[in-house]
Amino acid sequence: MFKVSRRLVLVSHTATLSRNAFSTLTKTPFRALEHSTRAQVWSARSSLLGQVRSVTLAASQALPPTPETSYDVIVVGGGHAGSEACAAAARTGAKTLLLTQKLDTIGEMSCNPSFGGVGKGVLVREIDALDGLCGRISDLAGVQFRILNRSKGPAVHGPRAQIDRKLYKKHMQAALNEYPNLTIKAGSVSDIVLGTEILPPTPGQNNVQGEIKGIKLESGEVIHAPKVVITTGTFLRGEIHIGLEAYPAGRIDEEASIGLSDSLAQAGFELSRLKTGTPPRLDGKTIDFSELTPQYGDQPASPFSYLNKEVANGHNQLACYQTSTNPKTHEIIRNNLHKSIHIRETVKGPRYCPSIESKIMRFTTKEAHTIWLEPEGYDNDVIYPNGISMTLPEKEQIEMLRTIKGLENVTVLRCGYGVEYDYVDPRELKRTLETHRIRGLYLAGQINGTTGYEEAAAQGILAGINAGLAAKSRAPLILTRADAYIGVLVDDLITKGVEEPYRVFTSRSEYRLTLRADNADLRLTRKGYEAGCVTDYRWNVYQKMEAQMNRGMQLMNEFKLSPVKWAEYGFGKSDDGVKRSAIEMLGFPNAKMLQFHEAIPELKDMDPAVQNKIEIEGAYSVYLRRQGAEVTAFMRDEAMELPSDIDYSAVPNLSNENRTKLERHRPATLGAAKRIEGVTPTSIVELLKYVQRTKRLPTMLTGEPIRSGSRKDRLRQRLKAKDL
């Protein structure tokens, strides 16, 4: 599948050097290029759109982009969204460039040292099922693996792992460096480059501003690509808060991306502010763990990736330790609240991951808040105290920490801080994560108002796949709410927008029994392969599993016995005399696959993972059937696609309010239109009517009469038309 040779182009950050490098590589005088591209760099700065558009010097005519300056897809940002996006685009066969401010920060885990969890763990499995990286890298870099919610049923099991930060980065960078079709380059993006061709006017699509042509680096260098994925996380006008200090930065010690934010704002994107925070990092050598409750990983550890049977460090897992705040801690925080500008801000932070300051302000009666002391890796003593992100000044942070059990003598390696950043209203996006406003521009990750590595990676893979597919003129990969949590996430973002950093919860899904961690491969790998984003290696592994799964389900469905016979195999006897299949028997309390080995010996040799899948399918079978019916109903609405260029002003009888809403969201399907808050059933019917009418329009133009005259007349006319 991948024929392009491995390549890693390192281009220096400075303008002069890159100019030289550029000229050498392309044998083109840099100045000439700069001149011609200047016209083409339609940096969205001018409000005189018409005038700029009238500049018709298209780069493609003036100077054909040479291979080194042009790609199919450019991914900006090397965080979790960016890493998945560039790899995914490359997997589709698109020639891809990853641009990042610093090569060393690719795959950086800037906050908690863990991956997965309830809901989030399913996202990781889904990314893996689409042949993404984060699951496999976590299996290599994990220091402790656990399945959360074990007691609550497999539909909500949440695979989670504590991760060694350095190992994660190392393995991610290694994987990307060797990735076919992918080039990695350091550089700070200052601008997006739009095409100068005048787009044909599309009725109602007033918000389309242009088409992306590439990006411009701060060095002035322009790189061409018909598809650009921006994944700059919190770097858009990022601002760090510690105590009363605030300074621009994306992560501590890293520059914020100001220029890009301006470009997006000037292109008309709606930007708002969100905030988040991170706790201080502690020196483990100065912590007394002896009195704290340890928490160990599962034995054996369950890997994230469907490709792995085990994890790299399953027998060498590290423990986490539990401690908690106390009234003394709370008093120090309460007395110093005025020393943090982060708290006083009106910008919204996440309610489910509040800073310790806001926990104390909001839940005044609670005398203790749990803290998990999590190791950051094997080769260091850094401890991440999960649960106490804070923005107090350094002195107060230390004072407060030392009131906590086990931390009496703690040394702080780096204090906690808050980040405030710009995000783009995700209602600007299509289901592919392409923007409505600028064709070929995709946004993924925190820039869309989400939080969490997994949410970022999920968007990254979807945007990357679709950018790649679009560059190759192939059909997009669309995931609905019934396909995956990725679909739920994207649908929520584009239909509801966000008011606080968005995180996935299982409660957000209507089809929780169907969207499970165990079956993400069954849900997505075939889809991904057909779309063109799954490599042959995974496809082979998947097909073997799928064949076994089908065989197992067939055996279980076809094996039917009467209650008396089942009793002979040790099952409790019911006296209704009804014959039941083995799958139905799995629905009985505590039924396990093991119990069927005697009756159906072929099952014995099946992969335990497959047996586990069958067991869960059986346990839920009655409910899954019902959910299947719901999914069918849902999919009928999803199947009714609304043309993206629909002119809402031409749809009759829409209320102004509904028209504005529909214009803004441009729902892709009837289902999505229904989910937009405030859109009334009448509007939906009007939409249906309108779409129907426009669909029939060609018939009208051909002159075929619409249901006039008798049936015979119509038949006669049709025959006549055929004769002609």
């Binding site: 309830v118 809901g119 959360l148 919610n149 007691s151 609550k152 049923g153 539909a155 909500v156 949440g158 539990q322 309610r351 489910y352 991951c353 509040p354 926990k359 909001r362 839940f363 609670k366 808040h369 749990t370 999960n386 649960g387 919860f505 299982t506 409660s507 957000r508 209507e510 929780r512 029994l513 019911s574 139905e584 009985f588 309390p589 505590n590 346990a619 839920y620 079978s621 009655v622 409910y623 059937r625 019902r626 019916a629 069918t632 109903a633 009928r636 009888n653 009334t680 059933p681 009448t682 939906i684 019917v685 249906l688 009517k689 129907q692 009418r693 029939r696 009208m700 619409i706 249901r707």
Partner: protein
Amino acid sequence: PYHVCAVQRAAEAQGRPTELRYTETHLDTIFALSTHPGKAGIAVVRVSGPQAKSVLKSMTLAKAPFPKPRQAVTRRLLCPQSHELLDKGMVVWFPGPRSFTGEDSVEFHCHGGKAVVDGILRGIGNTGPHVRLAEPGEFSRRAFENNKLDLTEVEGLADLLNAETEAQRRLALRQADGGLKNLYETWRTQLIKSMALIEALIDFGEDENIEDDVYDNAKRQAAIVSPIPGTTRDVVEVSLDIGGYPILIGDTAGLRSSQDEIEMEGVRRAQDRIRLADINIAILPATDFLSSSKVGGGVDPIVLEAVRKNPKTMVLINKMDLPGLENDKAMAAAKSVLWGDTSLADGGEDQRRLWAISCQTGDGIGRFLNDFIKILKDRFENSVSSSTSITQYRHRKHLENCIQSLDAFLDLSADDIVLGAEELRHAASDLGRITGRVDVEEVLDVVFREFCIGK
């Protein structure tokens, strides 16, 4: 740990359907009143879906020949259960795909009176588990999907569609005014609370900050909405057909002043039920009025209050068969005890509110029933919002479904927490059809308000 079969067995034991209740799907057969509800000479009820044929059969005489396609024939329309005559009308059979929706369809043309239309809608709704009232716009929707709507038809549909869509829903809530609306809202709030507890346990259960008893607490919240049998469902309900009017009669506990807490709880519930009822009937023994010399002495003050507070209460004086009782005397005594003023008791024909009967001998019951039917006719036949019954029928269906899901939830053990959540979601979806959709954000709002979540 998934007691799917256990659930089914429990359901069987309780006489509930053994299948899970499915949510509405396109496989269902749907029906609706297609003409404007209200005072019209003729009403048309439309049925569409795979079971249209069997609906037609069960609504007409078994021996009547099945009508030819697209030909109107007269038929007696019967109640599918009691085989009682509902109306004489016309039926038209449209086998798919040559019908409005493209599916098998039937039209019933009947008289426009409310009782008739109600009877027919109710009858059709009872013909099978997958026969249900159409959702707003559903007929057109099906027609659209089967490529049956063309331009001219679409234009002609506008009025009908408007009637079918949100106007109905708005009307539904407007009708559910006062006490009922508040009741629905309380249920909704309770349900959201219950869901919040479960969802918190599922999504944040690993957070140490969530207490262990959350699941039980969620059940307690849900139980407030779905009364557990034997404790709160002590209002016995029977549905009767009186003079063509479908009546739901709720027999409450007797109203009586008491010190006993449990008994007072029963009385409180009876009073709630009285508040919700359209018509209240008080049955009091004649002896209450005569045995005591003191005026009102024999009638409990709670009863007096209930009768006086609700001027439309009908009072039946029972036990007139006892020796030594005279109708006139008993009536006069009752009037003076209950209202203190005899003129209030019978201000005119339709405001009559006092009858003397004997349940033992049946004396006076025929007369009462005649009057009762007249009162029903006066009060409901000409009711201004004439589509009340349709929306009430819809409410009833959704509420029944809601209760079914809640009961299923209460039956599930703590191991089944995800399945429990599933049932709650179904309950919320049904209640949401009346009160407005329960959005996950509302649930999350409660989660974050109630629990300090934060890892």
